[in-house]
């Protein structure tokens, strides 16, 4: 019975869009968070997203790589930009509504 209750809660969290930060509802967002190295559970905060993006930029921007790793870095960096923009957009639309 205890297990059932836990399961229920999990399922509840799974489908809800509450701001408690449960992101499994959105696999795209989950992957974007992963790209930037953000926790999949924590509530989404603007400052965290920005900080994570900056960290990634310093790590993956092709300017900071020599020819041997440039192509890979460029691909990684592009993913980071997409992830950052998507998360920022989500935060901004949340702010408006």
């Amino acid at each position: 019975r205890f297990n059932e209750k836990e399961k229920e809660e999990k399922e509840d969290g799974y489908g809800s869009s509450k701001s408690n930060g449960s992101v499994l509802s959105d696999p795209i967002e989950a992957s974007h968070r992963e790209t930037l190295g953000l926790s999949p559970w924590a509530p989404l905060k603007l400052e965290d997203v920005k900080h994570a993006y900056r960290t990634c930029a310093l790590k993956w921007h092709p300017d900071l790589h020599d020819d041997s790793t440039k192509a890979e870095a460029e691909a990684r960096f592009k993913l980071c930009v997409v992830a950052y923009q998507s998360l920022i957009q989500k935060l901004q639309s949340a702010k408006i509504t």
């Binding site: 930029a57 921007h61 092709p62 300017d63 900071l64 460029e74």
Partner: protein
């Protein structure tokens, strides 16, 4: 920063430098040259680089030299003195070469690679032309970076705090505004906006027109038609403008500006700061729109801006500062030197690219949207023929736009479909799905367009490519993926892939649109030859100067110590001296050098004899007269 510039050296905006065709000379001597020889002295070349004639019609009227077009409508600068038409790239290359020479001799190291800055609002072909100019100057151009971004790099290099800054860059010929977020060593450009046809030159022009119209009213003579008078007016206007940055009024005095049957005519007038502001009021208004637009694009309000940084010489104009102050409600930051900050920032970026600076990264954006041409009235057509979108699944449906019909030139009604919107962080890849507009259409021509205008024709066309061999199908059925890619070096490539067959066509836009690859190669060679000629000329002048001073020294010493050396040696010295003097008059560099060496030899004999004869006197002469 010096450490980061070991091999690479940064070059600031090339627009301020002026070049005269006969000799590479510094700004002031070129300005003098401009008065004497207006048709053969080029200035503000930056306004013409990478442009077609129809894009710079207004500018070409404002300069003292003749701007012409070649058979491809590209701009060429006419130089009657040597009967040649130069591309703007060649003139810029000469400026770059001079800068590189100066940097090389300062660093005592050969400079081969460079980071060159351009106005942020330059389009792709202007950037490529600038890169070509670098190549013609014999440089490996590592990167073209935007001037306001470079300025922010220099400004934020030593600062750690989290700031949102607005860079207001009003230079000699162009105006840029960039909004950046600077934090943790990441310089993130949020938006860029600008006006490539607004700068200090326009402010000068207002004063020139004012002087000329007053003169016409008083004397009935149009000075604007006289190239030499125009050049003097322009110079006086610029001087007055600069003086009005520190004074509230200034005198403009141009004696003998022209002459009539009654005698010489002069201009003697006073320009006040208020009058100057009145003359330039519409220019000042034009500064406002890019500031507002860049904030809108960055989704910020004026209150979100922490610092406003002024860059470019024209921001010294008090009226411009006043506009910034009023608009942003902030006291602009004037701690950076507006003339140098851009070059310093380029040096920082050079350091990053060389691997010497690792805690800083610049995330720049593309200032103008990139896209391709599609048929107009897309929605209407789609409604008429639902078949065209029926075969595509939901998420794709929104992306479908019909590409142009079979004909290969841009139709007047074709519109631009943006693939990479402006202010997208670089490097980037974006794609969209397109389809055909006719039943059985097998080929599609894609034009690569840059700009913000609705209709394809009004945007800059960077190139085009043809995708052939699409299997015949009803309109709207074929799916063509179009991918645009801008790499870290700013090289744009476009790929179109037909999903049905996997057929692929791509175009990499590398060469500038105004010069072909062959032309650039030719210019590189020519510039190298010029550089050789110039080197020889310089050597000749240096040798001559050296010889002159040898003659002078020898004569002086002969006078002083002549009686202490035997007559035959003295005669020998005198004859060698005479020989050298003759050679200075007419001989080649090598001959002058030879006679100098010969004279040196006999002088040494004389000196040693002189020392033997009287050590006291010899000591006074020093070990060698010309050391």
């Amino acid at each position: 920063m010096a450490s980061s510039a070991a091999q690479i050296h940064a070059l600031g905006g090339i627009g301020i430098a002026t070049y005269s065709s006969s000799s590479k000379s510094n700004l002031n001597s070129a300005k003098r040259q401009a008065v004497v020889n207006p048709e053969n002295t080029f200035s503000s070349v930056k306004r013409f680089i990478g442009s077609r004639m129809d894009e710079v019609a207004e500018e070409s009227k404002q300069v003292s030299y003749r701007v012409v077009k070649d058979e491809n409508e590209n701009v060429k600068l006419d130089c009657p003195a040597i009967g040649k038409q130069f591309a703007a790239e060649e003139i810029s290359a000469q400026v770059l070469r001079k800068l590189v020479d100066d940097a090389s001799s300062f660093l005592d190291e050969k400079v081969t690679r460079a980071v060159i800055t351009v106005p942020a609002y330059f389009n792709d072909s202007q950037r490529r032309a600038t890169k070509d100019a670098g190549r013609i100057a014999g440089l490996d151009v590592l990167r073209i970076i935007n001037e306001p971004t470079a300025a922010s790099l220099a400004y934020g290099f030593e600062r750690k705090s989290n700031e949102t800054i607005l860079v207001f860059d009003l230079g000699g010929g162009t105006f840029d505004v960039s909004v950046l977020e600077v934090s943790e060593g990441v310089f993130q450009v949020l938006s860029t906006c600008g006006d490539t046809h607004l700068g200090g030159d326009d402010f000068d022009k207002r004063v020139v027109d004012w002087l000329a119209s007053n003169f016409k009213k008083d004397e009935g003579i149009d000075l604007l038609k006289d190239k030499q008078a125009l050049q003097r007016l322009t110079e006086a206007a610029e001087k007055a403008k600069i003086e009005l940055s520190s004074l509230t009024q200034t005198n403009i005095s141009l004696p003998f500006i022209t002459a009539t049957a009654d005698g010489p005519k002069h201009i003697e007038t006073t320009l006040t700061r208020t009058k100057f502001r009145e003359l330039c009021s519409d220019l000042l208004d034009r500064c406002k729109t890019p500031v507002e637009n860049s904030l809108r694009d960055a989704r910020l309000k004026f209150k979100d801006i922490d610092e406003v940084i002024l860059v470019g010489g024209s921001t010294r104009i008090p009226a411009v500062q006043e506009v910034v102050r009023k608009l942003t409600g902030k006291e602009p930051n004037v701690t950076v030197n507006p003339d140098e900050v851009v070059a310093l920032g380029a040096a920082v970026q050079a350091g990053v690219l060389a691997g010497d600076v690792s805690h800083i990264v610049l995330l720049d954006v593309t200032p103008l949207s990139l896209g391709t041409n599609t048929v107009g009235d897309v929605r209407k057509r789609c409604r008429e023929c639902t078949t065209s979108t029926r075969n595509l699944r939901g998420s794709e449906r929104a992306e479908v736009l019909q590409v142009q019909r079979r004909n290969e030139t841009l139709r007047t009604d074709s519109v631009m479909s943006k693939i990479i919107p402006r202010n997208t962080t670089l490097p980037t890849s974006k794609s969209k799905v397109f389809t055909t507009v006719d039943d059985g259409q097998t080929r599609v021509r894609f034009h690569v367009l840059q700009g913000e205008r609705e209709f394809a024709r009004d945007n800059k066309c960077l190139g085009s490519f043809l995708l052939d061999g699409i299997p015949p199908a009803p309109r709207g059925v074929p799916k063509i993926d179009v991918k645009f890619d801008i790499d870290a070096n700013g090289i744009l490539s476009a790929t179109a892939t037909d999903r049905a067959t996997g057929n692929k066509q791509e175009i990499t836009i590398t060469g500038s649109t105004t010069l072909s690859k062959d032309e650039v190669e030719k210019m590189v060679k020519e510039a190298e030859r010029f550089a050789k000629d110039d080197k020889q000329k310089r050597e000749a002048i240096d040798t001559k100067n050296q010889a002159d001073s040898v003659v002078y020294q020898t004569e002086k010493q002969l006078k002083e110590f002549g009686e202490k050396i035997p007559g035959e040696v003295k005669e020998k010295i005198e004859s060698k001296l005479q020989e050298l003097e003759d050679k200075i008059g007419s001989g080649s560099t090598q001959e002058i050098k030879d006679s100098m060496a010969a004279l040196n030899q006999v002088m040494q004999i004389g000196q040693s004899m002189c020392n033997q004869a009287g050590p006291e006197a010899g000591a006074g002469a020093g070990p060698s007269p010309w050391r």
